[in-house]
Point group: C2
DNA sequence: CTGAAAGCGCTTACAG
DNA sequence: CTGAAAGCGCTTACAG
């Protein structure tokens, strides 16, 4: 590979002049500029970006910490992050933590060692062994998280969204409203569960732990939780289930079908996220739309602003609007029951 | 940030000794080693990886070129790529090309400028303006592509897989078998269409262009194509449709429902990929399983082997086994028709 | 085992 | 506008 020295020799100028021709061409005399450009072309010169990056000690790179890359909701967010980063000239390094504190620490170290400039953490966990990031002095932004992180985030108002779901169900006449949650230590689970309880109270309903099952945000866990509801000895069965994401809702619908329960005739199901699939399932899923792509886009834009000193560091969350989407999976209580 | 010089001063040794203490500790006397380690700890020293990377002129980074990051099939592949890369000590840079040759060129340049060591291209396009990569001298591997790329790839035997789908349909008594394809210029579309035609021939059936619709691999396009079949003036309607991916198949099922067509009673549907969702849809989708995660994992392992000279460069594809998965969306032809 | 020196490829004051 | 020099932080022969 040709270096700047080769170009300088070829063009008969100094290396400094080559640099200037590259970055501040108007500060170079036309004749030399032409010579340099000819030399660059002749030699097929490309600046060594490893060197540039080292010199400027900025990698122009953002690490995205994702708990689960195969999750389609996260995939949407990442698509938004990548587009915003591209526009701002930043590269995206993917970090799959698998909820391991050790893995997370490695990525934090990448920022400490200048390999990356900042971190976007998707759906950060609550206080647990995976909550390393807050303790480090690393530029960070969370996306699809919850209030109260020590760094700014881009999210929706989860509490309000969940309450709207419960109100919808209560308005349809449901009194035994169940829930399928995410992992108990997940911050979104905690917040949405709070919203669930508040929604119940506002509807004049009681919170019954027997009507709640813990899932892991994946399809199968929704299937299993639904089956568990059907098999439980508890005589009180939910006539409606709020699921903390669409995948579990879709899994639950399928699980219910195994027990010959029709959705929504026998039982109503609500999801959360509004995946593309949710509009095309049978029945189409009633859910809460999170603007995943926009959330990703905004989080990257926010982090870049922070890195470039264009945003105040006041640690305020950007709260994007959600949208309640009523489709076919919810209906009035079945009078036969 | 403390540098190696600070550590050397603090420990009272030379910088070379610090480097050795870091990388070849057994070549350093125990007493100095201890001093260096103490200094590192005291100063909280972390090697500047930008500098290390520059010195060794290897970024230990792989660029993943993805046509569409939000696609769940690709998300699975990426998950595999990331895991394999992590194990081998490589980082993953995400490149969203949006099928733009200009964008693709930028990522190729990253390799040329040493910012990355190689490229994994997902589902590469055929000869078109987006087929820049083959012409460059850049270490590359394709994943989920087709035979004939100028660099090695990890894929399944698409032709055989599609033929198995058609045979399944023919065995069920279908004679009017339609197809919903991907974009016409997509290499997977081209290859699977060839398999479709071969399958028809082997089943003693004729290929009818009127029974083929072009989609774009997304849900809505499957929906639209199905609607188009129903609305077409052509009296010959398919009694079974082979869809080139699961998303379009799921969209098609939904579209058919709009016309009161039941799957599989009135019409059979086959997908391709076997997304998680496909097992949980109603009806559950008959499809071809591509080992997406493994394909991603293998492609990254292969590229790293290539980069490190551990694989011969003979440009042979790794062909992973697919699996035909019969579920509920296919059935014998409806006798009423 | 150890250190002084040179160098990776680029850019940034500095002096002219 | 231009070039010589110094330096970013690290590592690699080289000599001892």
């Amino acid at each position: 590979m040709a270096t700047i020295r080769d170009v300088a020799n070829e063009a008969g100028v100094s290396r400094a002049t080559v640099t200037r021709a590259l970055h501040e061409p108007d500060k170079v005399s036309p004749s030399r500029l032409a010579k340099v450009q000819a030399a660059i072309k002749k030699l097929g010169y490309r600046p060594n970006m490893l060197s540039q990056t080292f010199r400027s000690s900025s990698a122009k790179t953002i690490v995205v910490l994702a708990p689960n890359l195969a999750n389609p909701f996260f995939a949407q967010i990442i698509a938004g992050i990548v587009d915003a980063s591209d526009e701002r000239g930043y590269k995206i390094l993917v970090g799959s933590t698998n909820n391991s504190a050790k893995r997370e620490a490695e990525f934090i170290r990448m920022v400490e060692t200048r390999l990356a400039d900042g971190i976007i953490q998707m759906a950060p966990y609550t206080e647990g062994e995976t909550a390393l990031l807050p303790r480090q002095h690393v530029p960070a932004v969370s996306v699809a998280g919850v209030p109260g992180t020590p760094y700014p985030g881009v999210r929706i108002d989860n509490i309000a969204a969940v309450k709207e779901c419960i109100r919808h169900l209560a308005d349809l006449g449901h009194t035994n409203i169940g829930a399928i949650t995410g992992p108990a230590d997940n911050s979104n689970t905690v917040v949405r569960l709070a919203g669930f309880k508040e929604g119940l109270v506002e509807a004049g309903l009681r919170y019954l732990p027997a009507l709640v099952r813990e899932g892991d945000f994946r399809l199968v866990s929704g299937f299993g939780a639904a089956a568990d509801f059907m098999l439980a000895s508890n005589p009180v069965k939910p006539t409606a289930i709020f699921c903390m994401n669409d995948e579990m809702a879709l899994g639950a619908i399928r699980g219910l079908r195994t027990f010959n329960m029709r959705v929504p005739a026998d039982i109503s199901i609500i999801g959360f996220d509004n995946l593309d699939f949710s509009a095309f399932s049978s029945p189409a899923l009633t859910t809460v739309e999170q603007p995943a792509y926009d959330m990703g886009y905004s989080s990257a834009a926010l982090l870049v602003d922070l890195l470039e000193g264009k945003a105040n560091n006041r640690n305020e969350d950007i709260v994007l609007p959600y949208r309640f989407v009523e489709r076919e999976s919810t209906a009035a209580t079945n009078q036969d029951q």
